[in-house]
Subunit: 164 residues, 4 copies
């Protein structure tokens, strides 16, 4: 049961730049996280972009839709910033009249994986599991819960994804 992980960046993959003191992107941590999780699922990792989700444009979302459409794997996990994750989920779900015929699960992290206190490894384990067990559709998996794309919002006061 093969799975494609499409990396788009987000908090998940931010790192501390020692020279500037700012958070920035270098390479994705997903392969390292799969090693740490000793992941034995059949997984392919594709780094599509490395951006903050607040900077994701319609053109970026169109590229992501194309990647999902052309993926040979029936299961796709997308790592994504939390700020516009719901918006991207909607774009994916409405991309085709009959849907993309795949199970697509978006996930991310509240704290960068490179920080000791990150929820990233937990969320990645969760997303890789929901994507194997759920039927075709677009879902968001965060912090142990999974939502259909049109029944979730990010609570901006608490930072928590909740049913809408």
């Amino acid at each position: 049961m093969s799975i494609r992980i499409i990396v788009t960046g987000g908090t998940f993959d931010k790192e501390y730049n020692e020279l500037t003191g700012a958070l920035a992107f270098r390479q994705t941590h997903v392969p390292e996280m799969l090693r740490l999780g000793r992941c034995r699922a059949d997984v392919v990792v594709e780094t599509l972009m490395m951006i903050d989700s607040l900077e994701m444009t319609d053109a970026d979302r169109a590229r992501l839709i194309e990647s999902c459409r052309h993926a040979r794997e029936p299961h796709v996990v997308i790592t994504h910033g939390t700020d516009t994750m719901v918006e991207t989920a909607r774009a994916l779900a409405t991309a085709a009249p009959s849907g993309l015929q795949k199970t697509i699960v978006l996930t991310g992290a509240m704290v960068p994986y490179a920080f000791g206190s990150s929820d990233g490894l937990f969320n990645l384990g969760s997303a890789l599991s929901f994507v194997q067990a759920l039927p075709p559709g677009v879902f968001i998996a965060m912090n142990g819960r999974c939502f259909e794309w049109d029944r979730v919002r990010k609570n901006l006061q608490t930072g928590v994804f909740e049913a809408s």
Copy 2:
């Protein structure tokens, strides 16, 4: 969708004893792991025992079956040592003519959570997700894969759970 996590010990929860230099059990790390994963699922943690799974007796398994039977939650995750996880899964699956009418997922870790290099957080996120998405039955979730109780074995040479 409420979930009961029943803790039995295993590598998952082993710690380093500074005075003796040996690995030993103190308290379970599951609540700390749920905090790290910022878990928002509705979860109850029950520490049933803290033992090495090689030392688990038939009486211990009978207690575990009773805990599962009496749990009010329809979903149960069991943290368990890997050495006899398959044996316990079989005991649970064959405990009642019609099964326990619950979705039960056993999980564990190759390396103690207290070690930086543990797969425990990944596996816990995975088990909590499979248990929500799968139908009633007994499953083993390890390292990104999920197996029905009667189609899995631990490969003693590699330490990996694989289809049997």
Copy 3:
């Protein structure tokens, strides 16, 4: 041999704010670091300020000089941002005609302690050791080396403290 640790903030103590996605200060990590290092030295921790060293004013430095002057301990470690550490060391060294009659060691980190990849614990162990072994004076201890206050600079290209 008692030591006062005066906390001023700096990269050392920065944390990730989950809601804003920015780095910010909350409480100092020094007590937690001393626990992790199982520090048995006789240490008092004083949080004087929690600021980025680029924002440290002359008034802030005057307060720091007063704290050092009034400290009853003969050994003082100061945690400090790296950007103006050399400037603060100079202010301390020239604060009194005959010096402050104490051994003062400034230290910091290239990466926040809360990040898994931080040099903070190594530097804290180092500074606490140099301060016990060196004669009165003002020093900077970073990344395994120790410099007198007037023989060091931070190389802005590499981020490394080096002899000047």
Copy 4:
């Protein structure tokens, strides 16, 4: 100011063996720790042996004395198990009528470095600093304190090194 780090094993370097579930030695973690500490001191690492200090024989100690004697560096840090660290310090101090004419600092850890909760990085930063600042002699640096070889013992009840 160059420093030789001689690795002998000890708790410091123990790892968890995933297949056997036991603690064992593979390679030393000292180079990785120096990278994490972004150590800029002039350091050479020599792995002399990888053993539990309870198994260290007189022949092993003779090899260690020879390594110290022949080291071209005037400063030597030795990583060592805590159980017989005092005994090895005595052997080094009494090895030559006039001593080894070097500053030698033994250090170790209460918890393996590979565990998240290790004091190893703190102790390594400390030992590398004391060795640069102290005069010739044999010392033990543990948990922020430094003792002359003949004025220290390990308290077996508490695990703490204390003045004797």
